[in-house]
Amino acid sequence: MLTSTNDRAIETHSLVKTFHTKHGFLTRTTRSTEAVRGITFHVNKGELFGLLGPNGAGKTTTVKMLSTLLIPTSGSIHIFGQDILQHTRDIRKHIGFTFGGAHGLYGRLTAIENLRYFAELYALPPRETHNRIRELLELVGLRDRGNDRVETYSSGMQQRLHLARVLLHDPELIFLDEPTVGIDPVGARELRSTIKLLKNQGKTILLTTHYMAEADELCDRLAIINHGQIIAMDSPSSLKSKLTSDAFVELKTSGENLPSVKNVLAQLDPDSEVTYNQHAFVWEVNIRTRQPGVVMELLAPLLSSNLIQTLGVRNQTMEDVYVSIIQNGGA
């Protein structure tokens, strides 16, 4: 265990990462991309911290800096109180990371061979390796497939094997970059249970995802990141409560009946927000309102005269919070 003077597993300050790429055949120009633009946050020991954001927001770049794979352009990172640039090798012994997808495994080797290979890279004692691999395959539900080549695995199985690989050397801090991407709902649920189990064992976990429900279910705290900056950071419940108690009334109608619907919606109070989305012949209308009952009363006659096909009301979800924060640029 790395010694640390405080309870923080991760501490970053004004983290910036800029990539420079060259373009052009005859005249070369250098283009700079600021993937991360001044991120400051901390993760406490034993905490499950989520990093949320759309594609290209800077989540993976941040995780790669935190896991020693990228050097920040400026700013500082301390892992368990140690500066990441000065104690790189030491820190690597105590962290585990995975970047999701089908990458990062040797497809022509079996799961057991893959794990043995990485066990050597982490200098696991040979006597422990055998048992550890068996335990981990059991944990991720791959015990029966341990001797099969990884190229025959489904994406869900590969993700689970990634998790087993991350846990080989029993790291105190785990980075999981979109661990459930591309997995079916059942597999994703199982993986989330395993992540919860790890948290209960006292591991510190930093998880990136763009599944809002996942973040809501798993994370103690989360940061929403967009265009390389943190635009909101708090516990999922606090983030939700910061937003209004708006509800959403949703209906479906045909293009032919849309004008009638629009006529009725014109009577709504100005604070309500209406969005229209067309899917083939059907229009989905979404009304964000503080008075769902009033809106329902207005629309009920349309339902009874078959001018709308479905009508319903739902409460705000984490996804609505996320979309609202991203669209408004901050909480």
Binding site: T68, H103, L121, P126
Partner: protein, 263 residues
């Protein structure tokens, strides 16, 4: 400690071998190019009336060519595959230094390439009916060991260049022929113009190879041969030190540019 080191080595080699064996045909690459180059040498000699090929340069030279081409090809393949598959960042992000992984891989690549030398020896014995009775056996053993060391040192040096950027594979591939050309793989170094001979002095392979060729031709272990051995050892060591120095630069560079992954 030593046990850990050896286990890592064995595991590393095992993975590399398993990853590489795409099919028997792909293994033929170690043999086809050297055999074809050797055949060109024989046919050129035949065109001017020499029907018996030269043992040291034309036949065994093909073995050397196979070892070198194999080293370049497999080293380039390894790093490209690891970049593409996303395993390079897992290796770099582990506590084991990349240079140790690369060191074992280069060793395996050279040992695998040695099979083309065995094939060349077999061709000399069974196809061209040569006997090796006149050779200086201790000289050959020491020279061949030094040649392996020279290849390994160049291998780990080139591996650093390969790790530097996703585009450096093209550059390393490009070095295959110039080094074969300058180090006299299939002809004596004296055939080259003087300025080329001077350039080739900076490559340890040239010295290891020259001593091997001398020993195969029956040269005794005299001061000239020993001097060349020492030069081979010295230049190899310089490459080893360069590789160690470069290794640190590469470790920082790839983490600044984000060249660990090809996507």
């Amino acid at each position: 400690m030593i046990g850990n080191f050896l286990r890592l080595g064995i595991r590393q080699m095992n993975v590399q071998l398993r990853m590489r064996v795409l099919s028997l045909w792909s293994l033929a690459l170690f043999f086809t190019q050297p055999a074809i180059f050797s055949a060109i040498g024989m046919l050129l000699a035949r065109a001017v009336g020499n029907t018996r090929p030269d043992l040291v340069y034309t036949v065994l030279g093909a073995g050397i060519m196979g070892m070198w081409s194999g080293l370049v090809f497999t080293s380039t393949y390894d790093i490209r595959a690891d970049r593409r598959e996303g395993t390079l960042e897992l290796i770099v992000g582990s506590p084991t230094p990349l240079r140790r992984v690369v060191g074992f891989r280069s060793l395996l690549n050279i040992l695998a390439g040695s099979t083309s030398m065995l094939a060349a020896v077999a061709a000399a014995l069974f196809i061209f009916d040569y006997s090796f009775s006149g050779i200086n056996i201790p000289g050959v053993v020491i020279s061949f060991s030094l040649l392996l060391l020279a290849l390994w040192c160049m291998g780990i040096f080139l591996a650093n260049i390969l790790a530097w950027s996703r585009l450096s594979g093209t550059f390393v591939d490009l070095l295959e022929m110039p080094i074969a050309l300058l180090c006299g793989f299939m002809y004596p170094i004296s055939v080259l113009p003087a300025w080329m001979q001077q350039i080739s002095a900076v490559f340890p392979i040239r010295w290891g190879l020259e001593t091997l060729q001398d020993a195969l031709k029956g040269s005794l272990i005299d001061s000239a041969l020993v001097n060349k051995w020492l030069i081979a050892l010295g230049v190899s060591f310089v490459y080893y030190l360069l590789a160690r120095w470069f290794d640190r630069k590469v470790h920082d560079h790839i983490r600044i540019t984000g060249e660990l992954h090809s996507i």
